[in-house]
Amino acid sequence: MSEKVLEVKNLIVHYETQDGVAEAVNDVSFSISAGETLGLVGETGAGKTTIALTIMGLLPKPAGCVISGEVLIDGRNITETSRNRAKQRKNDRMMRRLRGNDVSMIFQDPMSALNPVMRVGDQISEVIRLHSSASRAVATQKAMEMMELVGIPGVRFKDYPHEFSGGMKQRIVIAMALACNPRVLIADEPTTALDVTIQAQVLELMNDLKRQFNTSLLMITHDLGVVAEMCDKCAVIYAGQMVEHGTVEHIFNNAQHPYTQALFSALPSLDKDVDRLKSISGLMSDPMDLPPYCTFYERCDARCHRCMELDPPLTESEPGHFVKCVHFMKDNGAPSPKEGAAAAEASL
């Protein structure tokens, strides 16, 4: 389990638009080992999809640019760019070979992810033929097998996307993503657009296939239930920064960052009788105008004067559990025993 399939190091991504620069991803690092599942949790606009697109090398051009940091897939750095045209072409070619073969992605909306004027079978066999020397017939055969694998009769090979329901379309997207047996699969909110009854089926399917192929999975979601069900590790993203990172047990049993705690208190619970769910007041900071101090300050229940003085670094609070909060900083002597830390303890 120690072999790192995907490594993201100090990634900073900006969108440069007419209205200004949006700091979408600010210094995010994580890694996934073979067969492991990492959950990336956060609200809409936190930068989760941007991270995924960066890994795929599919940032919208020319707005999206990687300012610094590295993304390593199987040890190969894919964020390298070069002014030298020939070199850049080589980089692009390498990235193309990785995409769909070593790393593939399931998009949020299965309704629009498939080409409406192309038969689904052709869309699956396209990726197979791209990354292997398989003949058309062999690729077709393989595509049909993949369809059977995700629970769609192979005979529907010749159907067009509009002839399938949303859940089935997502199955086809999954079949397409796994067709070349990638090392890493990125799933960007794969169940958000689906009916609740179908969500569980799709998740189960992904879990099965992941185990079968020993694929690493980067699961992007805003649904903590999905994380609990699917993931080994979990990272909480807020305003493009990682605010908490640890195993699922760390996060679920000992949430330390006020934001993570707030996320949990916004969840309905079966064993506690709560009259009213807690919501997180306010809005996420505008990525065009991030404060120089803790980005969660304005919405934090546990804020204190020191939160406005500095932007706290990610600190290891217990082995393997990282938190980005003033209250857990070590170099400042004892963590200030403010209500934040107290609340963190109390919630255990």
Binding site: P292, Y297, E298, H305, M308, E309, L310
Partner: protein
Amino acid sequence: MAKLYTPAMAAVAKKRARSKRKATSGQSTPSREAWKRLKRNRLAIAGMVILAALILVAVFADFLAPRGYDVQNLSERNLPPSLKHLMGTDNYGRDILSRVIYGTRVSLPIGFICVIIAFAIGGTLGAIAAFKGGRTDNIIMRIMDIFQSIPPMLMAIAIAASLGNGALNLVLAISISTMPARSRIVRAAILTVKRNDYIESARAIGASSRRQLLKYMLPNAIGPILTSFTFSVATAILTVSSLSYIGLGITAPTPEWGSMLSAGKELLRQAPHVLLFPGLMIMVTVLALNLFGDGLRDALDPRLK
């Protein structure tokens, strides 16, 4: 970061930030946003400036034109451009510059009037079709289909041929021939809006059909209609000049740009300058309208472009 923040300061900062947010959100209505985008579009501004200039020329034609538009001087026929006649003279010795200037009083208003009539009739029919739906929609649109089975130019030629020459007949010919297409535009725009949830909620709060149509649907459908209006004027001006060119519209001595060119082919060899300037004026006018229309479309639908 040497300065120490106190909670009180933070509260002030927060309040300020909130009021700033409120202020900006209050300003940015969709139409104002669109206007902002339009102002940023240099080509659209260029189109607007040209149009404004043409309108000014039309208003002050009497002061700007060196001569009357129908003053003939047979001793000065087909003269090339010179200091005395900046654009030369035509086959009757008329000053082309003067005729081109007076031409703005013909082409621009006729183009606009044609489109206004086409939209008034066609648009009303389209709006009724879209709003009522079902059988009404079907009947209206099938009639439009039949009208549209004659290509607009052919229809305009047929109507103009039947009614005879003259500005009024030309306006009728162009308005009627383009009316079905305009009805489709209005219908499509309203149908798009009709699908939105706020129409549903307007119905839920018990707004009358009239109110639903006028208060909720039209204002929201106006974007595409406005864009298409601009493009339609451009097309109408081209059609006016084409019909006049083949002798089916406005005839001499009225200085319509297209009719000024109808003697052009015969004069191709001796006096090519005669056909240069009127055509250039048509193109500049149409170009300005198209530039403005493009800008309008991009401003109203920022996803494009």
